[in-house]
């Protein structure tokens, strides 16, 4: 029997994995002596994407690689498979997460300063348990406070391939002197 097309092999691997796979990982499903170039894998992924168009699944690049996923339009149907409603997060959690995402690396004290309230350790624990944030280091300041950053899982979870894909921060009404420009690398266009 002849060998299946590369895009079919990738399709099979991605579905069997059920999680994002990096190009390196996709290359490694081929035997050493027949390992395709990165470029060839990327081209096969492109063919796969095209072949999936208009079906119940799409290929998407997220932070930790490529993932086959059921697109948003199917959510109303798919959600009915499960009794449980998806978790909702409190405003406190979302605001804290947003501050960390846009201002990372950032200390707990700095988060509190922006929000104007003490940060409950419950919130930080929730975010860490979800694997969305991690301690990225310690600031060289009295007490050596931990600085927090978001993880690749965070990006994967929110369907983003990099921090650059985050929605741009709301424009400040007037060019205030305080925050001339916000610090997202290239806040070109948000979301999809």
């Amino acid at each position: 029997m002849s060998e299946p097309a590369m895009e079919n092999i990738l399709h099979a691997a991605l579905l069997a994995a059920g999680e994002p796979l990096s190009v390196e990982r996709l290359q490694s499903v081929f035997p050493d002596e027949a390992m395709p170039e990165k470029k060839a894998v990327e081209m096969a992924l492109q063919r796969l994407q095209q072949s999936l168009e208009g079906s119940g699944v799409e290929l998407r690049q997220v932070a930790s690689g490529y993932r086959l996923q059921v697109p948003e339009v199917y959510a109303p149907w798919v959600a009915r498979l499960w009794e449980e409603k998806p978790t909702r997060y409190s405003r406190a959690v979302l605001e804290t997460l947003a501050i960390i995402a846009y201002r990372q690396p950032i200390t707990r004290g700095e988060i509190e300063e922006i929000r104007g309230v003490a940060l409950s350790s419950q919130i930080m624990r929730t975010l860490q348990e979800r694997g969305w944030i991690r301690v990225a280091g310690h600031r060289d300041a009295p007490g050596r406070p931990a600085v927090f950053a978001t993880t690749r899982d965070f990006l994967d979870y929110f369907n983003l391939s990099s921090l650059r894909d985050l929605p741009t921060l709301m424009e400040i009404a007037e060019p205030g002197p305080e925050h001339p420009e916000l610090d997202l690398e290239v806040p070109v266009q948000g979301g999809e």
Binding site: R115, A118, L169
Partner: protein, 278 residues
């Protein structure tokens, strides 16, 4: 969607977007039924959030806050919280003190010849913080609107075929092999005094080859092992290999009668074998 539990972390975002919600139509005199008020007040994420709400509700310009009026309203809410014995975070009181201070500084006559008056607006720092907070409040809700795994998008998976466990064999390079050999020899020299000499690998190879051929054919004429195309060097190598094999008792040479052809046979057969051993 009603009645979020106080302080619960994963509570629904119920009344959070206060603007436009029923609560936004609070009577100016601040009277609301205590139950509703409790829910209302607990939706604030802190003094900045409350202040922002007061400003936005009245469509006030954040850059030009009527500080006296806002302070009065803010204090009224804080008092209400106290009356309701809501757990009042210390930050609310700190903010109250800050507002009072700004108010009093606004009342002081400003030195007319001061440098840029803008910079000395006592409200500046408060405005900066309010705007920054508002940005992230918005960002938090933007984040919530992003398509999210398990809510809007679902990782696709299918049953994997039955898998034989695969293990990838370790990789070795030639230099490693040589280094290992060198080390062994070095060690061996420490144990024994006999000098291990540099080997003629071609002889070793021919030894292995010969054994392999014998494995299949049991007997081989000596002449079959010699290949003319290898020339003299080849013949020498083969002879040396055979001598080595003989010495190691891996093969024997047999001859049916004097001057008959010499045959090589595998050592494995020797116990059953007969014939003249040369």
């Amino acid at each position: 969607m009603s009645e979020p539990t106080a302080g619960e972390l994963l509570e629904p975002e119920v009344v959070a977007t206060v603007r436009g919600e029923p609560f936004a139509e609070l009577p100016r005199d601040l009277y609301i039924p205590p139950d509703a008020l409790e829910v209302f007040l607990e939706t604030f994420e802190g003094p900045l959030d409350l202040l922002l709400y007061l400003i936005r509700r009245q469509n006030l310009d954040i850059l030009d806050i009527p500080i006296a009026e806002i302070t009065r309203q803010y204090m009224a809410y804080v008092d209400l919280m106290k009356d309701l014995r809501l757990e009042l975070a210390a930050e609310y009181l700190v903010m109250a003190a800050m507002l009072a201070e700004i108010k009093s500084r606004m009342l002081l006559p400003r030195p007319p010849s001061a440098d840029e008056d803008e910079e000395h607006d006592p409200r500046a720092e408060l405005v900066r913080r309010l705007r920054e907070y508002e940005q992230f409040k918005e960002a938090g809700s933007d984040l919530d609107n992003l398509p999210r795994v398990a809510r809007d998008i679902f990782p696709a998976s299918a049953a994997a075929p039955s898998l034989r466990p695969a293990t990838r064999a370790p990789q070795v390079d030639l230099a490693e092999l040589l280094a290992a050999f060198a080390e062994v020899l070095e060690r061996a020299q420490m144990f024994s005094h006999h000098q291990i000499q540099r080997e003629a690998l071609s002889v070793r190879e021919r030894m292995s080859e010969t054994l392999t051929r014998l494995d299949g054919e049991r007997f081989l004429a000596l002449t079959d092992l010699l290949r003319a195309e290898e020339g003299r060097a080849g013949v020498v190598v083969t002879f040396l290999a055979i001598l080595e094999l003989l010495k190691a008792s891996l093969v024997e040479l047999v001859q049916a009668e004097p001057f008959a052809p010499l045959y090589l046979r595998s050592g494995a057969l020797m116990s059953e074998g007969e014939g003249v051993v040369v």
